[in-house]
């Protein structure tokens, strides 16, 4: 199984777990009237995540095209934005979901994905702010978006460094294996 497919399949598993946890949290907060999200929206969004996950799992049975990583990530961000939008906008207790998506994808795919996530987040969060206008100044919202960019770039940088070190380590392992083969062959010839 190729690496891309393995990674996307692990994302499908994590998506099921996160969806269940978020659904339970939303139901709990709704019952205690901490959020004003309607039951229809909670059930609808949970169903949307489930359908998206089933579609991704079906695609992954045949293989993992390169574009799939961007489609799954963008879908996650759009569903998270709908969730944040319907649960209070900028004051939503589910804002942290964006960071789960950012960190999990950046670690897996590196700097390009980190910038992609920050870009989609930026646009989606502006849409959330347009639908749920903030009272007073927008400075704190701007700082939130900038902080997200900061975390994205730093996570992307760390992931890139980690990927580079992993490649160096793999090259060392291949060299050692190659030297060991040559050594064994030389020893066999001497005998």
């Amino acid at each position: 199984m190729d690496e891309e497919r393995r990674v996307e399949q692990s994302k499908v598993t994590v998506r099921w777990i996160v969806a269940v946890v978020l659904c339970i949290a939303a139901v709990y907060l709704r019952r205690h009237e901490a959020i004003g999200t309607s039951w229809t929206v909670i059930i609808g969004l949970t169903a949307a995540v489930a359908v998206a996950n089933l579609v991704f799992a079906a695609i992954l049975r045949r293989g993992a095209p390169r574009w799939l990583r961007y489609v799954t990530t963008a879908t996650d961000l759009l569903l998270a934005s709908l969730f944040v939008g319907y649960s209070g906008g900028s004051g939503s207790p589910f804002y942290y979901v964006y960071f789960i998506i950012l960190v999990s994808n950046s670690i897996r795919y590196g700097m390009a994905m980190a910038v992609f996530v920050a870009l989609i987040f930026n646009m989606a969060y502006v849409a959330v702010l347009l639908v749920h206008p903030v009272r007073g100044e927008l400075t704190s919202e701007g700082v939130k978006i900038l902080a997200f960019w900061g975390v994205a770039l730093y996570a992307g940088y760390l992931a890139t460094r980690f990927q580079r070190q992993a490649r160096i380590l793999q090259a060392y392992e291949e060299t050692i294996a190659d030297l060991r083969t040559r050594f064994d062959e030389g020893e066999g010839a001497e005998r």
């Binding site: 910038v115 920050a118 870009l119 930026n122 646009m123 969060y125 502006v126 702010l129 347009l130 206008p133 903030v134 927008l138 400075t139 919202e141 701007g142 700082v143 978006i145 900038l146 960019w149 770039l153």
Partner: protein, 63 residues
Amino acid sequence: MSTRHLRSRTVGWGVVLAAALIVAIVLVTWKATNPLFFLLYPVLVLGVLALLAMAVLWALRHF
């Protein structure tokens, strides 16, 4: 012997432009009256990053 592909003048203008973009980021954050202004962030942040990266790489004699 390494060849310098960028002139110091070009890099200097790049740094000045990066500083201007940072000021623009601060102004957008501070004075924005509509969330649509935040759509400028990707251009501004990536612009600053690219220009500063160019300056640092030039200083380290990568080009």
